[in-house]
């Protein structure tokens, strides 16, 4: 690990100042960052410990929703009585990720900011436009089993690896961000992560000196909530394809279909056309198949991950069938 200057932030503003230079990074749970620092993928000159800032609360909002502090651990969120009762898709998504040891340290803000598990990104002997802009992408013509099929660019086909944010995207949660000099802004989770485009080193919309302070969930919307994660072993593996689904029925027709997908793109994938297609219709195998046509109309495989296209199709059908009680 490269030497760095360790600073503990006493106040949010202090943390913002210290992370303003590009060489400054904040650390909370550290489960991803320390790993990447050992690999010298991340080499901050200043490491700003924000773990003692008072941002771990999970509290009701005036609007009937729930605000999850940036430093609330994944465990605290997953086992919170209101999350289990009102936002079960979020509990399920968190519990489907990592291990209890990691979830006990991982935080809301850190989980949103975790980096891709692309093998080329974590191997400093390999080219990677995300780690070293301009060095090329090893994955496009290389080992690409975990990689994206939607929203890729000719510079990067990495995936966002997390589960928590996929559920938050289905729930249409909002990320709250503090910036320089007491400023703040809010961004929908659906818009927080970026597509790689020609700046694949930018995972999300955070600017230097900005720090996530929390995530707000809207008022509970009920429905059948499912998190289905397809992976290569039954525990402690990243998603090949995952789906967070909130589906409701009224008089035999679908009245709500909020869907988000993990493992398929550089961000939790949300396509508003799916809800438009499904809502108002009677559930059927043909309807679900057409939904998959819409979801995957621009999908592109890179050899090793070609299987994700039919896998996403089948997983979507299975989730919709389960949510609507339809035989397929």
């Amino acid at each position: 690990m490269r030497p760095f200057d360790y600073q503990r932030a006493e106040r949010l503003e202090h943390a913002s100042q210290l992370t303003m230079p590009e060489s400054g990074m904040s650390i909370a749970g550290g489960t991803n960052l320390i790993d990447l620092m050992k690999l010298q993928v991340e080499t901050p000159e200043t490491l700003v410990d924000i773990s003692r800032l008072p941002m771990a609360q999970i509290e009701d909002t005036d609007e009937g929703g729930l605000r999850i502090g940036a430093l609330a651990t994944n465990t605290a969120t997953a086992v919170h009585p209101r999350v289990k009762a009102d936002y079960p898709v979020l509990s399920r998504a968190i519990l489907a990720g990592a291990t209890q040891q990691l979830r006990n340290k991982a935080t809301t803000g850190g989980n949103l900011c975790q980096r891709t598990r692309c093998y080329y990104f974590t191997d400093t002997t390999q080219p990677c436009n995300k780690r070293e802009p301009g060095s090329g992408c090893g994955a496009i013509d290389g080992i690409a089993r975990l990689h994206a099929i939607l929203g890729t660019s000719n510079q990067c086909i990495a995936t966002y690896p997390g589960d928590m944010a996929v559920a938050m995207a289905a729930l249409n949660a909002t990320v709250e961000i503090a910036g320089e000099g007491d400023t703040s802004r809010s961004v929908s989770v659906r818009d927080f992560h970026r597509l790689p485009g020609d700046e694949p080193w930018r995972d999300n919309v955070l600017k230097d000196g900005e720090i996530i302070t929390g995530v707000t969930l809207p008022k509970p919307i009920g429905g059948t909530q499912i998190y289905r994660k397809v992976r290569e072993r039954s525990s402690y593996a990243f998603a090949l394809v995952s789906i967070a689904a909130i589906v409701d029925m009224e008089d035999g027709r679908i009245s709500r279909a909020d869907l988000a997908f993990g493992g398929v793109a550089h961000k939790p994938w949300h396509d508003p056309r799916l809800s438009d297609h499904l809502v108002g219709s009677e559930p059927s195998a043909a309807l679900f198949d057409k939904a998959a046509d819409i979801l995957l109309d621009t999908a592109q495989g890179y050899g090793e991950n070609d299987f994700k296209i039919p896998l996403a199709r089948r997983t979507l059908s299975a989730v919709l069938a389960q949510a609507t009680g339809t035989e397929i």
Binding site: G30, A78, Q100, Q101
Partner: protein, 167 residues
């Protein structure tokens, strides 16, 4: 503020790069906690911090001032082993033994998590009382690898210890 490990207070290292794992092993000589992968994948370094199990390899020692850490040395002794330590012996919950301190620290916390009725990915219902099935134990222990493959006996040891502690 110092760090408290197994009821003894220690000063934290000057170099912020020292992981909690290396601090325990090299700076204060508690070599019961093991380094397997050093990347949070194997669980051999599992310790309890303020009662919660974590991978000590993925945590900087300097971030733990004021925290209370329990390692395998703090759970029991040769003459007075903890129920889990005893059960691992009785049920052959290991072969080479390298992963065992992490397994036992992890299982110690896991039994508390069951007591608190925290659900897991294996739980059918997020809110109902959870039955300590083999499937639940396997899911909850998936962060602790055993390359000798003593998993069946590890599950048996955990169930036996839980039963003894409930009696």
């Amino acid at each position: 503020m110092p760090i408290t490990v197994n009821d003894t207070q220690y000063d934290l290292p000057d170099d912020p790069r020292v992981s909690l794992l290396d601090f325990l092993r090299h700076e204060i000589g508690l070599t019961g906690t093991k380094k397997g992968c050093d990347h949070g994948q194997c669980g051999a370094c599992t310790v309890l911090v303020d009662g919660m199990r974590i991978n000590s390899c993925l945590s900087l020692a300097v971030m733990h001032d004021g925290d209370t850490v329990q390692t395998i040395e703090g759970l029991g002794t040769e003459t007075d082993p903890s129920p889990l330590q005893k059960a691992f012996l009785e049920h052959d919950g290991y072969q080479c033994g390298y992963c065992t301190p992490g397994q036992i620290c992890s299982a110690t916390a896991m039994l508390n998590e069951f007591a608190n009725n925290w659900p897991s990915d294996a739980s059918d219902d997020l809110e109902a009382a959870i039955d300590m099935s083999d499937e639940e134990i396997r899911e909850r222990m998936s962060g602790n690898l055993c390359r000798c493959g003593a998993y069946v006996n590890i599950v048996a040891a955990i169930k036996a210890a839980a039963k003894e502690m409930a009696a």
